[in-house]
């Protein structure tokens, strides 16, 4: 699908765990699998390091979407980290939805170090989704806007 | 851009084929049931497009011998689709006014009582605009 509203460039923060998804993103890069430049990756040791506070902060500062990627359930480098992350995010996302940050703006995806294609596909579809939702106005602190 | 290059690009556009994907294995020619009737052989189609010699291609007998049976497309290991390339060349011919391989005048003598409609429609669509 082509992106119709070219002028809207969303801000998208992607938290990637060091062991799987960050390596998956590297593989997407070395395989030259493109996805929009709107996605910026922050490396964390594990998906369980992602504090809900970071996600709220991102929306406060004007992010239009936040995606968190980790190792597949059962494959966590630290055994169980992604299970905690999954439960935390389920709660957080439903709360965010309740206060008006639609579920489409937040996503959890499991991407292994071998899944460069999945990483790029995920990012492409996420950006597309954010495009369909448009700019995020809820939670944004107007004082943060340039 | 030269006329020759334009024509080659037109063929690539109509067919949606990237001739550079071909690795010259010859599996298309090994597969083609019309091979012996063709003057330019299926594996050569891509070279004619790459060498921008569309003129030879559109004047070739092969255009009218291809069955669109898709055996070459199915078996091509590089996803090149030589059958689509030859169809694009055929399209370039029949889309020009008066350039058809089948004229209404010659139809009556080709008919017989068993002949299914399907044959006429199919031939019309492949041979005429």
């Amino acid at each position: 699908m082509s992106i119709e509203n070219k002028s809207f460039r969303p801000k998208i923060v992607a938290f990637c765990c060091n062991w799987c998804s960050y390596a998956g993103a590297d593989l997407a890069g070395s395989s030259r699998l493109s996805y929009p430049a709107d996605v910026k990756i922050i490396r964390v040791p594990c998906s369980c390091r992602v504090n809900p506070m970071f996600i709220l902060r991102a929306f406060e500062k004007g992010a239009d979407g936040v995606i968190m990627c980790g190792c597949h359930p059962g494959d966590c480098h630290y055994s169980t980290g992604n299970y905690y992350a999954r439960r935390r995010m389920t709660l957080l996302f439903s709360m965010l939805d309740y206060i008006g940050v639609e579920n489409g703006r937040t996503r959890v995806e499991w991407v292994s170090a071998a899944e460069g294609v999945k990483f790029s596909d995920t990012m492409n579809s996420f950006v597309e989704k954010i495009h369909s939702l448009g700019e995020n106005v809820r939670l944004g602190d107007l004082r943060c806007r340039n | 851009m030269s006329e020759k290059k334009k024509q080659a690009e037109l063929i690539e556009e109509i067919s949606g084929v990237n001739p550079l994907k071909c690795m010259k294995c010859g599996k298309c020619s090994a597969t083609c049931p019309s091979y012996n009737e063709m003057d330019i052989k299926p594996h050569q189609f891509v070279s004619y497009v790459i060498n921008e010699d569309v003129e030879s291609l559109v004047n070739s007998e092969s255009l009218w011998k291809c069955l669109s049976c898709f055996a070459c497309v199915e078996r091509c290991p590089r996803d090149v689709k030589p059958g689509k390339l030859i169809d694009a060349a055929r399209q370039m011919v029949v889309r020009q006014r008066g350039q058809a391989y089948l004229s209404p005048d010659e139809i009556p003598e080709l008919l017989d009582p068993e002949l299914p409609q399907q044959l006429l429609v199919s031939a019309f669509r492949r041979y005429r605009r």
């Binding site: - | 049931p33 011998k65 199915e74 080709l110 299914p116 044959l119 199919s122 041979y127």
Partner: protein
Amino acid sequence: MKYSYYPGCTLRTKAKDLDDYARASAKALGFELEEIEDWQCCGGVYPLGTDEIANKLSCVRALNAAKEKEQELVTVCSACHHVMKRVNDDMRNVEDIRTRANNYMELDEPYQGETEVLHFLEVLRDKVGFDELAKKVVNPLKGQKIGAYYGCLLLRPGKILAFDNPENPKIMEDFIRAIGAEPVIYPYRNECCGGYISLKEKDMAKGMCDKITESAEGFGADMLITACPLCMYNLNKSSKKEIPVVYFTELLAEALGVKEACAGAAGEDEKEVQA
């Protein structure tokens, strides 16, 4: 179960029995084929050029009609099935064609390939089930050695038609087993009969059909079945061999015990047409 049904032009005329037997068998098997209103000819061959839209619209119309009735679309003729399935794939997956076709069509709601296109054989395999079919056979064709002739249109391109393994299909063989006969597997069953080439290059088509019938006979087939009127024409016309070629629906009707009834009806219809 009701399906939208697209017979196609040859099944209205030269291949009337292919159609009649299909309808009668469907009835006997407990599903209904509802003919789409005002359908138009599919064109016989799929327009390969990426820039061709107008030639695909008759199919889009039929596909959309099925969508509006929320039915799957059933075809019998191999050529119609081929064209219909590929146009539907375009509407599903090729954005440019989808947009432009919808611009022409001006439908209430754009058509995006929602309809499932099923060949009659696929209905037998996936909906009825060959085991079920076998149970409903009243007149098993015991002892007959039948070769399935697939041709190209049902099988290729394999990714889009998704009908069966394009190099080693088995749906027709399973069908032959279900109606009580013995399938004969021969290597030329998925090679081209010559298709539309037989209009002008009769010898070429003949040569191809000779290979097919020779191979089938060599492996012991007494009869060939096909789903395509053009394949049948070519095989009958061009071959020097004596092997009979029949539509698969005829054998189905025979096995289900409804052949006699519709043979009469077919005869009457033909009279009407002639009158």
